[in-house]
Symmetry: C2
Subunit: 337 residues, 2 copies
């Protein structure tokens, strides 16, 4: 189940507001031998480099053996773009349209009618109840294998409204470098996202180098059945687990069974993951991606409907977490720039 379902701040009218206009990009020079070439020199980059040096240098008081080098990354807004709406919400809306021929009743039944009419104001009024109905109608009632196919096919053809590119192009180049840099230093990298676990797994290995077994996310229940001799898992219209906010440490414990030593997020939904990771009495890294770049991407924080960053921004100061300022710290945002 996607994170937006439990975003208490999300009113759909705001959620579906259109994005800011696109801006021109420039391609910066990339230094040789720099593991993080898309990061400008500065405090953020330095805090990453010095943390990795400290925990990987044998004999260092901060040394951590490789098997315990667990790093967890939020997805929406931390690894890829979450504006003007969560990618998974765009998927759900497109699925309603794609399925509408088989559901003539949706022409008169809310919240489906609103989606089909493009009437986002009415959709917003359906609230969380409406959103749950949308998700269950589009994410449940099929096998896991078939859902994987649907999600993969959609990602191949869907385009971001501002950048006019596949959503999987809208991953942050500095974060890809960070994932690779950590892995090169013996870290095991995990995604811990409020987004649907089965919405992410089909593409995380190719795009992020993170295999399905290292993806943690929200889920609906599944049931094992053998139909005509073929076993399958069927997706049921019931929430199983919400991997957001205080759910993130729970999901980390359930799936990983170790406490991370580094965590990366961008919103209040990552607050507890950052606390769980860093308030441990030894050297840890907590980093928040702060969206400050309306030209190259988007600028939002304390009042945003998606990826609100308010409490976690205050906590960053109190806990000495690194705040990566997108505009200041990132030489480039996307690989296609």
């Amino acid at each position: 189940m996607p994170r937006f379902l439990i975003d208490r701040r999300a009113t759909l009218g705001a959620l579906l507001a259109s994005a800011a206009a696109a801006a021109p990009f420039s391609m910066p020079a990339i230094a040789q031998d720099d593991p993080l070439p898309s990061w400008n020199d500065g405090r953020s980059k330095q805090s990453i480099l010095s943390f990795v040096a400290a925990v990987t240098r044998e004999g260092s008081p901060d040394f951590v053996p490789a098997p315990q080098r667990i790093a967890t990354f939020d997805n929406d807004g931390t690894l890829w773009c979450e504006q003007p709406m969560y990618v998974q919400l765009a998927f759900a809306l497109d699925r309603v349209k794609a399925l509408s021929n088989a559901h003539p009743e949706w022409k008169t039944q809310q919240p489906f009618k609103a989606v089909l009419d493009g009437d986002l104001e009415t959709l917003a009024k359906s609230g969380t109840k409406g959103l749950v109905e949308l998700v269950m109608a589009t994410h449940a009632g099929m096998s896991t294998a078939y859902f994987e196919e649907i999600a993969s096919d959609w990602l191949k053809t869907a385009r971001h409204p501002k950048f006019k590119r596949p959503y999987t192009d809208l991953v942050y180049q500095p974060m890809l470098e960070l994932l690779a840099y950590l892995r090169a230093n013996g870290f095991k990298t995990f995604i811990v996202s409020g987004g649907g676990i089965e919405f992410m797994r089909p593409w995380t290995e190719e795009v992020y180098g993170v295999p399905p077994e290292q993806v943690v996310g929200s889920s609906i229940k599944t049931e094992f059945k053998i139909v005509d001799g073929s076993p399958a898992l069927f997706r049921l219209p019931q929430v199983d687990f919400i991997d957001d906010g205080p759910g993130k440490p729970v999901g980390i414990n359930s799936h990983i069974g170790r406490r991370p030593i580094a965590a990366f997020g961008n919103s209040d939904g990552d607050l507890q993951m950052l606390q769980w990771t860093t308030l441990a009495g030894s050297r840890r890294l907590g980093l928040i991606v702060h969206h400050t770049d309306a030209e190259r991407e988007y600028a939002y924080d304390r009042t945003s409907h998606f990826g609100r960053l308010d409490k976690a921004l205050d906590a960053a100061k109190a806990n000495s977490w690194t705040v990566a300022d997108m505009k200041r710290d990132w030489k480039r945002v996307f690989s296609f720039e």
Copy 2:
């Protein structure tokens, strides 16, 4: 939560019956260059070797790329001894004794009184309800970190009633070789057990070479809290997930997100995992450990109260799964022989 909670066949009287007497062991010669030296030559060993050769040889019609070489192993009765009772049940009973001073009410309150009196017949009569009470009283109400400490400490001192050794000595040497052999061939090995996930994780890496993030098991719910500035996960007295029978494919999907190509079990609780793994239309390996050796270990199958092997034994024949006959196929059972 341990698997015995949902073993519908388990009546505690039988569960707690004492084990068969210990038997003498002999140390066999180990062949050089043989990846499975504790396996006798024969059909079982051959089926493992030929499967691994087929899926790892590039150009073979059965070739499987390394990232997809997922192998799942049941724990109780497949990797270590599950008689005369599940190790986790022995732990729960010992915990009741250890906690009894802090719970004077247990002297008169069932099922605790029965445990303290060693009255296994009365304990048996308390049924599943009693077992749940035992588990919740011994496995919940503390932080995950403290539970890990308790479980680890217990395993250091507890001794198996027949073998008079730590339970972690009672892992099957042929299966340790099989785990290592698969990993040497690019497989990722997972444990998928009905036992409690947090009861296994503290020791699976050292004993099996399987890290915590590759352990799937039954669980109780946890809750994230910050107490005096320190974050912790608290174990709640509520069932979260039962990783047994039809739950195993669900747990595999949730934790691994890929369908295994090889699965290893020993009881009806592994039936659906074996079906999910092997009924896929391409080359797969399903293997069942059949406990046929009352002298070196135990002999049990269709009528056993722990690890009943009945439907899965019939299914093995119908589906051409390999049945490893402990007496015939294993040169030695334990490393200490």
